[in-house]
């Protein structure tokens, strides 16, 4: 066990729990619980959105992939910002104007409420739980590697902290944990970036040339092909990050926490600026780890590449066994831990909203229930969190989580994205179309994963769908099913309320205002 790192982890947990206690005293109504009382400012929400995206998978994963496969690792960070521009252009202001707590609010505005809510809530819960399990398995493995704590206690501790934030502190605690984490992560990224730049004498040519020279691939390290992915695999992965990210429920619900549409678009703007800056830093860190770390480090980095950034921190701080190295790696590890905590909390909150606000209050009780939504949401959050913890422990540390991330992003891209986009923009769109699109996108994603190289016995050679990510099929099929379902249905009511949705979503007339006090 590493004492410095465990103390750093304990400090993170302590600080976030203080935030949770503070937030729990301010969380009373459903608007407080799901939307932080709509009192988060644009720049703060932008930081929180950036925090949602900058998960351990993007910080440690992307830098590790650049360390391992050079250019191929750079493709994902380069395309992910597409998703945030799409969010700004298509969703940010409209979500804030037309919705209250969940993505399904926006869809059910003009479509028949109960079936659309049920379908959207189901896909939201599915995306959240799959993503949650992927994050928790990653958390257990990472904490084990960083501190020596074994997998089970690491997962249980992470899970309990996550439940505490959400159940007691709701969206306010989740948002502030995310903001704190985002600031720490940007600071850690900046420190590593400056460290690398000092080592290469602030000369980018030296950075890339040394990285290529140190890599077994040589000059090919800076060219496509380092990861061994096929071209169709690259396209599927790129589509998952560029389109799927734009429809991740835990990111979209952040737009409900701001006072108005102006703050919603400002938060999307801040998020784009911060995430882009972060990705530029990950490039310096990832290629820099290859340029700066000694050749022996390759074994310690491992096949996933996840330890490239922490090892780089240790090296820049003075090397293994030095006080500086120990402190710097403890800081970077604690930030990675904070990242995991914040992201899993956001996921649990999005799933609990879908269960309590969509399924419980509006599908089962048709909007007439005396039980408070907040109470149901707290219970749902605890239930979803516990289920995810149990699944994670059952799967164990050896489980391959990469395909779970692929599945979650693919369901978001194939099921959520087409239905949400068309509900907001296509006058003729109908309930049947929305349900057809959601179901088709979801089923295609699951089937492609089952028939794909990650699950099918024998791998890519014998798998009927030889591509790792289902997005290449799921996105076109999702849109096609939305269209076919719409053309085939006789429903016309949705066209009338389209005017109302248009006016409301684009001007904010009648949108939920920020309570003056609470």
């Amino acid at each position: 066990m590493n004492a410095t790192r465990l103390i750093a982890f304990a400090l993170i947990v302590g600080l976030t729990l203080v935030v949770t206690v503070w937030a729990s005293r301010r969380t009373h109504s459903a608007t407080d619980f799901f939307a932080a009382g709509r009192g988060i400012s644009g720049p703060r929400n932008g930081l929180a959105i950036a925090g949602d995206l900058m998960s351990a998978a993007t910080f440690l994963g992307f830098t590790g992939l650049m360390y391992l496969s050079g250019f191929d690792g750079w493709i994902m960070p380069a395309v992910t910002l597409v998703a945030f521009v799409l969010i700004l252009l298509l969703f940010a202001e409209r979500m804030r104007n037309a919705g209250r707590f969940t993505v399904a609010d926006v869809l059910s505005f003009r479509l028949r409420e109960r079936p659309v809510r049920a379908a959207t809530a189901a896909s939201t819960v599915l995306v959240a739980v799959i993503y949650l399990v992927a994050q928790l398995v990653g958390a257990g493995v990472l904490i084990r590697a960083l501190t020596g704590l074994s997998f089970t206690p690491a997962v249980v501790l992470t899970g309990l902290a996550m439940l505490a934030y959400v159940v007691f502190g709701g969206m306010l605690a989740t948002t502030w944990v995310q903001i704190i984490k985002a600031v720490l992560l940007l600071a850690a990224g900046a420190a590593l970036t400056v460290g690398v730049l000092v080592q290469v004498g602030f000369d980018l040519a030296t950075l890339f040339t040394t990285a290529a020279a140190n890599s077994p691939a040589g000059d090919a390290y800076l060219a496509p092909g380092g990861s061994g992915r096929s071209f169709l695999d690259t396209v599927s992965v790129a589509l998952a990050f560029a389109i799927g990210t734009a429809a991740l429920p835990h990111i979209l619900i952040r737009f409900f926490t701001v006072p108005d549409a102006k703050q919603a678009r400002s938060s999307a703007g801040w998020a784009t600026a911060l995430i882009g800056a972060f990705f530029v830093m990950t490039a310096v860190i990832g290629f820099g780890a290859r340029a700066v770390l000694p050749a022996e480090a390759a074994d310690a980095v491992g096949t996933s590449g996840n330890l490239a950034a922490p090892l780089l921190a240790e090296h820049l701080g003075g090397g293994p066994g030095t006080v500086g190295g120990d402190l710097f790696v403890a800081f970077v590890s604690a930030v990675a831990f904070a990242t995991i905590l914040a992201v899993v909390a956001g996921l649990v909150l999005s799933a609990s909203g879908a269960v309590a606000h969509d399924l419980w209050a509006n599908v089962i009780h048709r909007g007439r229930t005396s039980t408070s939504e907040t109470r149901v949401a707290r219970i749902a959050a605890a239930g979803i969190g516990l289920v995810a913890i149990v699944i994670t422990l059952g799967m164990g540390p050896e489980f391959n989580v990469a395909f779970l991330v692929g599945l979650a992003l693919s369901v978001a891209a194939g099921a959520n994205f087409p239905a949400l986009l068309l509900a907001l923009t296509w006058r003729r769109f109908t309930t049947t179309g929305a349900i057809a699109g959601i179901v088709a996108g979801l089923v295609t994603s699951v089937v492609c994963i089952l028939l794909g190289p990650s699950v099918w016995p024998g791998g890519a050679e014998s798998a009927p769908y030889p591509i790792e990510y289902p997005t290449l099929l799921a996105i076109p099929i999702g849109f096609l099913a939305c269209w076919i379902g719409t053309v085939l249905s006789a429903e016309r009511g949705a066209e009338r309320s389209f005017d109302e949705l248009q006016v409301r979503s684009q001007t904010g007339i009648g949108s939920e205002q920020t309570p003056v006090s609470h």
């Binding site: 071209f231 560029a242 684009q506």
Partner: protein
Amino acid sequence: MSSDAPDWAALQRSAPFQQLVAQRGRFVRYASAALLSWFAIFLAVIGAAPAVAGTVVVAGMTIGFLLGLSQLVLAWLLTWGYLRLSNRRWSRLEQSVRELAAAGAAPEVAR
């Protein structure tokens, strides 16, 4: 829905709303097209011409790396443009529509 609810169809037809939808819609269409085309070009170069993508042009950076970096720059530029137009033009049009709604929302009402 209450009886004093705004006349949505009338608001939808009103001049400021039509202007808003036309102007903002045009920006959104062009910006999305630019964004997705540049994304497609990036992937096409990687797939069709990996050797070109691997050519170093400046400061150790390859064409592929710079194309990737340009995705981020384009995202920043489009975001900046959208926010600027929102604050300068579209929020004023939004305000006009909200005033129409408050005034009773007949499309013929002079602004």
